[in-house]
């Protein structure tokens, strides 16, 4: 019975790179990792958006309509539905003049219970300390 914690840190905006999406889809894959592990073992993934990465969280992304591509927003919602801890850096939102009303905060419409956590960078820093491994995107 062991747990390995991974921290996914998204530092760059989306669409111009596949990385932010892949960060989320890989973190979501923690839902099915058991097939590779012994009973009771698990891998838990936290995701944090920092720097320009917070731009990935602006809501109402019309990527399907314009590029026939699932939006990064929809991947954030999937992450919430899968009960991932998803952090967004408060200071970086403020730097861009964005507020909580500008970003995706929950996944209620698809039945998600978790909320995006808008937190000071210090809390993301603490999360990074607690993780066994970090993956920067």
């Amino acid at each position: 019975m062991a747990t390995t914690k991974l921290g996914f840190i998204v530092q760059r905006p989306g669409y111009k790179s596949e990385n932010p999406k892949l960060a989320l889809t890989h973190a979501i894959a923690s839902q099915s990792v058991e097939i590779y592990l012994d009973d009771g073992d698990e891998v838990l993934c936290d995701v944090a958006f920092v720097g320009d990465g917070v731009l990935n969280c602006i809501k109402d992304q019309k990527a399907v309509e314009n590029y026939d591509l699932n939006s990064t927003e929809s991947h954030v919602k999937m992450g919430l539905l899968c009960d991932l801890n998803i952090y967004v850096c408060k200071e970086d939102l403020e730097k861009f003049g964005l507020t909580e009303s500008d970003i995706v905060l929950n996944a209620e419409e698809i039945g998600g219970d978790m909320d995006v956590k808008v937190v000071p960078y210090a809390e993301i820093s603490k999360m990074m300390e607690e993780m066994k491994h970090l993956l920067f995107f």
Partner: protein, 119 residues
């Protein structure tokens, strides 16, 4: 000796990130470590057979095959490969294809993880 899991999401040709990942894998194997290499995103380009070796382009089929002989464990993201038109029938012999959970599974007992992003 430990276990190193490397993830690389960058193209076969371009950034030389995959060249870096392959060389680092070789160096770690040389030192007796176990190495898992996960390729996802554009990194799945390394999983295709019959790359024609030109000196103008990074050509990693040969070094990858050599390292797999020495125990390197290479797995490509299946969905990322399929989306690009890379299928089972032209996958390099010895390279496995699984879902993204394979990468997480590999990190479970890894002593070190180096995640190299892509474009």
């Amino acid at each position: 000796m430990g276990k190193l899991t490397i993830g690389c999401f960058a193209s076969l040709v371009g950034s030389t990130n995959l060249d870096f990942a392959v060389k680092l894998s070789g160096a770690a194997l040389e030192k007796g470590h176990k190495v898992d290499l996960w390729v996802s995103g554009n990194g799945v380009g390394i999983s295709i057979e019959k790359q024609r070796p030109f000196k103008d382009y990074s050509s990693l089929e040969k070094p990858l095959l050599e390292l797999m002989e020495k125990g390197l464990n290479v797995t490509a993201c299946e969905a990322c490969a399929e989306a690009r038109g890379f299928h089972d029938d032209n996958t390099l012999a010895g390279v496995k294809r699984f879902s993204m959970d394979w990468y997480l599974g590999s990190t479970f007992d890894a002593d070190r993880v180096l995640h190299i992003g892509g474009e």
